[in-house]
Symmetry: C2
Subunit: 143 residues, 2 copies
């Protein structure tokens, strides 16, 4: 394993994959700055994203590489990609094609807020939760 200083201060990409072979990908809208989604990348998804400039992820539920939008058409063109200090997370600033990034039909996966100051059972409230597209049509009923 590379030394901590090399990972933090070096200019070689040395992703620190977790036990499942994944790094975390945070995806923000290059125009609005909003967080659209959080996903995961294996080595192949990372390489394909860097090579093509189109966002690829690894689906933990379907256990396969996945080009974002391959089914829905809601692709993501990467405007800028960054890696964090310990190289276990990447940040993608993307141009989101189509109305939204979330499989539920919203622009962003983060359509509920958690009010602060709560203890015990915690309740949410919808925020920016209008559906931008019909997920049943976009994904033909698949999740």
């Amino acid at each position: 394993m590379a030394a901590s200083s090399e990972i933090e201060e070096g200019l070689a990409l040395q992703p620190r994959f977790d036990a499942d072979g994944l790094v975390t990908a945070v995806v923000t809208d290059a125009a609005s700055g909003d967080v659209l989604m959080v996903a995961h990348m294996n080595a192949r998804a990372l390489a394909k994203t860097i090579e093509t400039g189109e966002a690829h992820y690894y689906s933990r539920s379907r256990k396969k590489l996945w080009r974002k939008g391959e089914e829905s058409g809601h692709t993501q063109r990467v405007i800028e990609m960054r890696v964090d200090c310990d190289q276990d997370a990447v940040w993608l600033r993307v141009e989101q094609a189509g109305p939204g990034a979330c499989h539920t039909g919203r622009r962003s996966c983060f359509y509920r807020v958690v009010a602060l100051g709560q203890t015990g059972e915690v309740t949410l409230a919808f925020r920016d939760a209008e559906r931008a597209f019909d997920p049943a049509a976009a994904y033909r009923g698949k999740p």
Copy 2:
């Protein structure tokens, strides 16, 4: 386990912790929108953050709950907290106290870009990598 529809469309916080009991926390600067860091929360860190409005995380390396800034003074006041569709990630928009969020002394942990179009060995370039503070002083030499 709650039904998928309840997790995605319900108004109860039902965090889906991973095998290590953690959810992912994406932290953005409420002023600039930049991603400052990615961290993890266990149930206790999540509850403390919600209750107090001050960001708490779980340190996987030190295996303990950690109030951001408890040592450096670089605390994070949560302006807004959101949860994603499948409730395994939260997004915190924070007011970052002090010059930076990263233990290396930068404002953000994402101070290196990955140029697109590369294949094979991938190189990085520094971006916004000026140190905003002296990490040795802020953390008294601890990582």
